[in-house]
Symmetry: C2
Subunit: 338 residues, 2 copies
Amino acid sequence: MKIIVDAFGGDHAPLEIIKGCADAVRELDLDIVLTGKEDVIRRVARENNLSLSRMEIVHAPEVITMDDPPGEIVKGKQDCSMAVGLRLLAEGKGDGFLSGGNSGALVVGSSLIVKRIPGVKRVSFGAIVPKAKGFFMLMDSGANLDCRPEMLQQFGMMGSIYMEKVMRISRPRVGLANVGTEEHKGGELQQQAFHLLKESGLNFVGNVEGRDIPADAADVVVADGFTGNILLKTYEGVAISIMRQVKEMLMQSAKSKLAAALLKSDLYKLKARMDYNEYGGAPVMGVSRPVFKTHGSAKAKTVKNALRLTKEYVATNVIDMISKSIRPVSQGNTADSP
Amino acid sequence: MKIIVDAFGGDHAPLEIIKGCADAVRELDLDIVLTGKEDVIRRVARENNLSLSRMEIVHAPEVITMDDPPGEIVKGKQDCSMAVGLRLLAEGKGDGFLSGGNSGALVVGSSLIVKRIPGVKRVSFGAIVPKAKGFFMLMDSGANLDCRPEMLQQFGMMGSIYMEKVMRISRPRVGLANVGTEEHKGGELQQQAFHLLKESGLNFVGNVEGRDIPADAADVVVADGFTGNILLKTYEGVAISIMRQVKEMLMQSAKSKLAAALLKSDLYKLKARMDYNEYGGAPVMGVSRPVFKTHGSAKAKTVKNALRLTKEYVATNVIDMISKSIRPVSQGNTADSP
């Protein structure tokens, strides 16, 4: 399997990206295509003693930054490492694409260069988030701030297929993020999406509240991208804050330091479990070929984990299944522009 | 000081409410007016050996339940314990009002029976939430799902006055909950509210993300009630879930149990700090007299804490200051219906 990787996407690119790819080649049996400035990639690899074995480099002279407007990927920065990678994917020169760069640009580029699955209304981020046991997918976690009810229904459907095929959860429970569990809760968007999800044939468990999501209310949590992003970042922020407070508590006295020594490996495991950054990122759902977004802050370990998830995304028939599931819904509809 | 208390609001009413009031009379030097079914209150107090000293009872034959539509408080259930309490407050028969009952009904009743401060567009909940150090106020945390930018500006102003006067934070930092820190982030509501808050003369620190709020990004976090409620409940849910996981970790081996014994009091303190339910609840902001909402799940300790916060709300001139601050903004505007 050959994965195309944006070597210049993310805060620690290209070094940590190349490192993560080198680890993935060894541990995950992957071939890699790196896109980006070839001379820089070769120099960084050499200076850090990183092997480029099983890695091909496709030169891309530009980089799309976090400050660039997303649309630049198809305008002024058509030759950035992300755009070049997406074109290679569209042309079938790799089986999947991974980037830690500008999220907005990745959504626009996925829609316009790789194209959506016919019938899919919006490309969206399906963040994989740890809960008390296992994980849930948060769809959309930030790609589409403004959504219509039909989009939320599609998010539920796509998330359900992903969780079933890639995460091997049978009949994933789909919940709608809302401010109460009763059917009439929320605004018009939530009320209409509730109705559509209920009729969808999915294993819809109704509205779910932030209070219950970490405890395992659903396997797929559906939200518009604004709500989803607020939920995701609050989730992350509180987890980090509490783990930091636990750590401070463990450092404050001789007695607590002794306790800390006893707990060391358990604490490490708990922290790793709650740090969803370690898990790699989010599949970009609704695209006609597998695209995966890793965190802008990703270091080598996260990049490697993201490559493992990209590999699993490629290896399953998620996109085919979405394509088949969406046809009856979109009969007679035309897809929206991104 | 005399606080009116809805003896029939909340899951554990009236027993836990009366208990909390009895504790508050002793510890906080308060006089209480209980509203609700007089015979039941007297019987429950007698059966549980609770003193009703310094407590007056005003009979209310009905109870508004969690399932009643909020508007019932001024229609079919005008004689419920909440409505009777709000009328007493409006008539000046007490200095403040506390209820743990139906939130929607409390918003409608506060608006229509006690009335808003002239110029205030919406009555809102200002939940007091613990962060790494101290607390922040989340305005609105769920009273108004649909908001206009001017309302968000008022939430910032009211929250800022409350945090300054009641929580004694000088020049509270006001942040707007958003999906990124840059000025252009979010939808139209956030973009326009950003502009209004920037011009407001408040100590506006710009957009704040869920990732940074627990770490102390702002003293007042402004949001529409839908976003605020999602944020609040996720905050609570993740905190509870992680503390539960820490507890499970401490119970899993002989070694970890030893560590748990060493950490006992520290862990208890941390848990209490993160459990915002213990803090009492949220002031209902924008009402012309002090109304305080405690949690539906409140037991005696929380009720007592809520009474302490209600006392502080009454003792400060928050409402006067809001009234003075709002006039220049609302010149020529008429207030909306609730």
